[in-house]
């Protein structure tokens, strides 16, 4: 019997008893918790802190827990004559609530008899994949928080006469940006995107100046952009830069090894291959975590397993909270010319996005389980019906 088959058998045997289920649950829980910290890009931007019920508050508005955090109070100094007195400030600090929600794997089911038909340790693989699945949703939710934050900052300047409340919301696309109908507060367009004459979602390769424009969105408002988040394909476009951008030494290195440093133009880089969550052409910049907000894991990651007759059932989940206390602490560079601005121009009312905008937003959760292989359609090679 192979090791894989032994694992499958062990999995089923242990699930038959309460003690065994506890051991499997313990094993599954510890394994998942360890991997999650390692692989989520969200956790590199906004590190998760463990919290327990004692550190949270019960909401008076609904039947869940929240965590309340303080936001730094404002203050200033002033120059005075020897006879003057400083102005007064009755101090007040804002605070905000962080909600919690659950991210769970699917509830997996398999009969004992069908499990015998597998040589691979399918239960182990599913467990491993559950870690990645949960991590993907973590990243997707975090990214939606960040996108909401930058769009909320932009809302007040996406229109000549104010924002959508005045009925004049405009989409943040290259045409409106060139015409001066929208401004860059927390979102900017790349050079290539700005030069396009149509507002669409074709990604133009990133230029060195695009990064500078991104940095200036935060650096120009008493913040500092500490790290960037971008997709692997966008990162690869950096290798298109010429000797004018890199200089001799780096150009030589890049040609042989690729760009191998963890920072670019003095800012840390977080890269991701999850191009169905962070879409190509979307680059975010972030201030340090303590300027952004908070992320929490409530209690431990849970693992559930049960066996009823010959049917195995198992699942894992975690309860997390993500809060953006300072929505001004992040910004976005768009390498496409079209608008993904949410909301309606009330004069229409009509959406202010450009056709095809969904291609630059995270895909639906249901679409995250797409597979690359075509085995279910019989497309493996060589096979008898190839010819």
């Amino acid at each position: 019997m192979s090791v894989s088959e032994q694992f499958n058998e062990l999995f089923f045997d242990k699930a038959a008893s309460a003690e065994g289920r506890d051991k499997l649950a313990e094993y599954g829980g510890s394994y998942i918790r360890d991997k999650l910290r390692e692989v989520s890009f969200l956790r590199k931007i906004l590190p998760f802190q463990p919290v327990t019920k004692r550190e949270c508050q019960r909401s008076v508005n609904h039947d869940t827990l929240v965590r309340i955090r303080d936001i730094e109070p404002n203050s200033r100094a002033m120059a005075l004559t020897f006879r003057g007195r400083p102005t007064a400030r009755y101090i007040r600090g804002a605070r905000y609530e962080i909600p919690f929600f659950t991210i769970a794997s699917e509830k997996f089911e398999k009969t004992e008899q069908e499990l015998l038909a597998y040589e691979m340790p399918i239960t182990k693989i599913i467990e491993d994949n559950s870690v990645k699945d949960i991590q993907e949703i973590e990243d997707r939710e975090g990214l939606r928080h960040f996108e909401s934050a930058v769009q909320a900052m932009q809302e007040g300047v996406n229109g000549v006469s104010g924002n959508r409340l005045s009925g004049d919301l405009k989409g943040f696309n290259s045409s409106n940006l060139r015409a001066g109908d929208v401004e860059s507060i927390r979102v900017t367009k790349g050079e290539g995107a700005l030069a396009r004459t149509t507002d669409d979602f074709i990604v133009e390769p990133i230029q060195r100046n695009d990064f500078i424009d991104l940095f200036n969105l935060l650096d120009g408002s008493r913040l500092r952009l500490e790290r960037m988040l971008l997709t692997e394909p966008d990162w690869n476009d950096v290798c298109r830069w010429t000797v004018d951008d890199f200089g001799d030494k780096l150009q030589s290195e890049t040609t042989v090894d690729g760009y191998k440093y963890g920072q670019l133009i003095g800012r840390k880089v977080v890269r991701t291959i999850k191009t169905n969550i962070l879409r190509r052409g979307c680059i975010y910049g972030f201030a340090p975590p303590d300027f952004i907000g908070d992320a929490y894991v409530l209690n431990e990651t849970k693992f559930y397993i049960d066996k009823v007759m010959n049917l195995m059932t198992w699942a894992s989940w975690e309860d997390i909270g993500i809060g953006v206390g300072n929505i001004a602490a992040m910004c976005k560079l768009e390498l496409f010319s079209g608008s993904v601005t949410p909301g309606f121009d009330l004069a229409g009312p009509a959406p202010v996005t450009d056709p095809g905008y969904a291609a630059k937003l995270p895909v639906a959760e249901d679409d995250l389980d797409e597979v690359n292989n075509r085995a279910d359609e019989g497309l493996t090679f060589p096979q008898v019906n190839s010819f």
Binding site: S59, V60, N61, H62, D63, T64, V66, E97, P99, F100, F101, T102, E141, R144, G321, I322, F344, L346, P349, A364, D366
Partner: protein
């Protein structure tokens, strides 16, 4: 605390509960009073249906019915206003933060259950009696009348081949019979 408008009487565990995204985010904004482009916030116990994007809204593709417009006041006695497709009750009280954080709404999706429904998600014009069949239709109750969809006896009129389908049956009538009803809901209703 937010008022609970649909109070479960039977067990939750056997019911298939699912989370879905709303068609528009205004549905889960607890302060949204409703505009032409942005329908009023949802209450627990309101019934929702799928649109063509697998998202939930108040009306969905109800055969023969005009498209729902958020700010419009819709007459439950009109043609094709009662639901002809399965509807699912929202199981999240107004203002829950987990709902707002991930922009998903839990509904009781498959399986029968019994619950007490408050006046805010019932049509007050009805005088309920045990055994009454209940349809999902625009409600004529409260300040948000004609903008919410919940259980009512009002079937309205039907055009076309599809008839309005009953979603529940009254099992107990509280007090005057106008404001609180216990109903057995069967999901999905076909």
């Amino acid at each position: 605390m937010a008022k609970v408008n649909m109070n479960m009487v039977t067990e939750v565990q056997p019911i298939q509960r699912r989370d879905f995204e709303p068609e528009t985010l205004g549905l889960i904004n607890p302060h949204n009073v409703g505009t032409a482009a942005d329908p009023i916030y949802l209450l627990d116990g309101e019934f929702l249906t799928f649109n063509n994007e697998y998202k939930l809204n108040r009306e969905g593709p109800n055969p023969g019915s005009p498209a729902a417009v958020g700010g419009a006041l819709l007459d439950p006695t009109g043609a094709d206003t009662a639901a002809k497709v399965p509807c699912y009750p929202l199981w999240a009280e107004r203002g829950r933060w987990d709902v707002q954080a991930i922009r998903k709404m839990p509904v009781l999706f498959i399986g029968p259950f019994e619950a007490d429904f408050s006046e805010d998600v019932l049509a007050a014009g009805d005088v309920f009696a045990v055994g009454d069949k209940l349809y999902v239709n625009w409600l004529s109750n409260g300040t948000d009348r004609n903008r919410r969809r919940g259980l009512t006896k009002v079937m309205g009129t039907n055009s076309g081949a599809d008839l309005a389908i009953p979603h529940a049956v009254v099992t107990r009538v509280h007090s005057s019979g106008l404001y609180k009803v216990r109903a057995l809901v069967v999901q999905p209703s076909l």
